[in-house]
């Protein structure tokens, strides 16, 4: 194919420059800071070399937050895959009201996260929450429980709330993949006697490869980045059980005022995510056939 080097770059460069400036310059500043010992923003500290990095790996807080982030990504991946596929496969069928549902299912994604927090804080409230009173009414609970009071309960509740926000959006993207699958394949498999479970496993799933690639990559990174839902509900508690790496960075910088440490954390985390992305793209990228 003919290459259009100059014109091509002319079209993409405004955006590329905007993005690179806003990512690379700050990362350079952060890297510089990570080599010093600065506490409050604006003050100066002495040069400590890679000391911050060495100390970081010995900190139990860092290890704890990394583990939490790992569980967070896995938990969200499982829940969101389940919800998103349920929604996508359901909407893919014909039923009365399908159009309205397909349009409005994404409501949880378009409202501000703060509103998501308000909704679930009210619904899950231990004193007056509707979930508690329904669970008691149907006999699943003896008395009202605090959904954010113990480490495990808080973690699971947050995973569910975050999945509630994101699954419909992911479902629509899966739906786009479903729409691109050739209908005839299903008809042919029916003739061969395949049931709908087999159809899902051998036609639907394999044909969603490129969609699942994007979702796997973007979804993982997006889950990792979640901050506001956790921060506004539990502040990382109880006893740091919901402190993921983003919360640790925020806390270190803006409540503990250890800017150099926070910068070090940011650099290490960026590096880890970049590594993950490169490995993921190199090993999973579907072959382009257009």
């Amino acid at each position: 194919m003919k290459k259009n080097n100059i014109e091509g770059w002319l079209f993409v460069s405004p955006l590329v420059i905007w993005i690179s400036l806003i990512i690379l310059v700050p990362i350079y500043i952060a890297f510089e800071l990570s080599l010093f010992n600065v506490k409050i923003i604006g003050t100066s500290g002495k040069f400590v070399g890679i000391d911050n990095y060495i100390k970081l790996f010995g900190k139990s807080k860092f290890v704890n937050a990394s583990l939490n982030s790992f569980y967070w990504i896995i938990g969200n991946a499982i829940c969101q895959t389940f919800f998103a596929f349920t929604i996508a496969l359901t909407i893919n069928y014909k039923f009365p009201g399908k159009k309205i549902m397909a349009n409005w299912i994404i409501l949880s994604f378009i409202i501000p996260t703060v509103v998501v927090v308000v909704i679930w804080k009210l619904m899950l409230s231990s004193s007056s929450g509707v979930i508690n009173s329904v669970l008691i009414d149907i006999g699943l609970l003896d008395e009202a429980t605090g959904f954010f009071s113990s480490p495990n309960k808080a973690f699971i509740s947050l995973v569910l709330i975050n999945s509630w926000r994101w699954s419909p959006f992911l479902a629509l993207i899966i739906l786009s993949g479903l729409n691109s699958i050739n209908r005839e394949m299903y008809d042919a498999s029916k003739v061969d006697g395949a049931n709908f479970v087999q159809q899902f496993l051998f036609i639907t799933f394999p044909n969603l490869k490129s969609v699942l690639f994007v979702l796997g990559l973007v979804g993982t990174l997006l889950s990792f980045n979640i901050f506001d839902i956790i921060w506004l509900i539990t502040k990382g508690g109880p006893s740091s059980a919901t402190t993921t790496l983003p919360l640790l960075i925020y806390e270190t910088a803006f409540t503990k005022f250890r800017i150099s440490q926070a910068a070090t954390l940011s650099i290490v985390t960026s590096f880890l995510l970049l590594l993950f992305s490169i490995i993921f793209i190199k090993s999973m990228a579907p072959k382009e056939d257009d």
Binding site: K3, N5, G42, T90, I110, I111, V114, I249, S266
Partner: protein, 276 residues
């Protein structure tokens, strides 16, 4: 065969019920609750049908709070971010779609990674950068960040919409002597209008809902956005639920209204083109 259809029907009804309960009921709940009396909101026994009706919470938030200041700030920031995002991403998406150039795959994948990459990792560095160049406490700081978050996915979506436009139309225009600029402004943009509309909504939503950077980069009360203003109430020790709920409903209203008018483009845009 009949048996399989029955199982399908039961499964479909079950999942429909589940979806309605999980994804729609919460909205019914906060909207009705925002009209309930304060006593009913915090009552331990709850009924699905509201027992009281009051406008006092809305009265309070509309006429006795900074709601309109926050609303104005959110609108300014979101609209500016949306317009800049659209201009930058239409241009980039066209370049990536039509013009094969050295490094285009690299740009494409980098965009995909940056879509998810920034977030909190950039929080401290960006804060430091903006402190250095005196951008803290300005609309522009938020716009810069929102564009960064919105454009990568916007490009990804736009590219898919551009692919749906038959190549022949464009080539015919070139044969008639049209320039690249004319082709883009008279052919590509109008033909991709539904797609561009849905991408625009996406950009608007991203900016409208952004909380983290808005809470850190803005400290002046007069420049705070709606999510930050609302979060201030969430964080209080004694939550005034009625006040908070009516605020939540009002803060969601603009995106929902926008969605009523152009939402179907957004959804069909996502489902028809997003990942082709």
């Amino acid at each position: 065969m009949i048996k399989e259809n029955n199982i399908k029907l039961i499964l479909l009804s079950l999942s429909l019920l589940l979806i309605i309960l999980i994804f729609f009921f919460p909205f019914f709940w906060i909207i009705t609750s925002s009209f309930k009396s304060p006593e009913e909101i915090i009552a331990t026994s709850t009924t699905i049908i509201p027992r009281s009706f009051t406008l006092e919470h809305y009265n309070k938030i509309l006429f006795n709070s900074d709601f309109f200041i926050y609303l104005k700030n959110s609108l300014i920031v979101s609209f500016s971010s949306m317009i800049i995002s659209i201009i930058l991403s239409v241009s980039a998406a066209y370049g990536l779609h039509k013009l094969k150039f050295y490094g285009n795959k690299f740009v494409e994948y980098s965009l995909l990674v940056t879509y998810a990459f920034p977030g909190v990792i950039l929080l401290v560095p960006i804060y430091l950068l903006f402190a250095k160049v005196n951008l803290l406490n300005s609309y522009f700081a938020l716009i810069v960040v929102n564009v960064l978050f919105a454009t990568p996915f916007a490009v990804w979506m736009l590219k898919a919409f551009f692919k749906l436009i038959p190549n022949e139309i464009e080539e015919a225009a070139y044969i008639d002597g049209a320039s690249r600029y004319i082709v883009i402004s008279r052919i590509i943009v109008p033909l991709a209008a539904p797609g561009i509309a849905s991408v625009a909504i996406f950009c608007f939503i991203i900016s409208w809902t952004e909380y983290l950077f808005a809470s850190i980069l803005i400290s002046g009360d007069d420049l705070k956005t709606l999510p930050v203003g609302l979060a201030g109430i969430v964080g209080q020790y004694q939550i005034d639920w009625g006040f908070l709920l009516s605020g939540a409903v009002l803060a969601s209203l603009p995106v929902i209204l926008l969605f009523v008018f152009i939402g179907k483009y957004f959804v069909s845009g996502l489902t028809e083109g997003a990942v082709k």
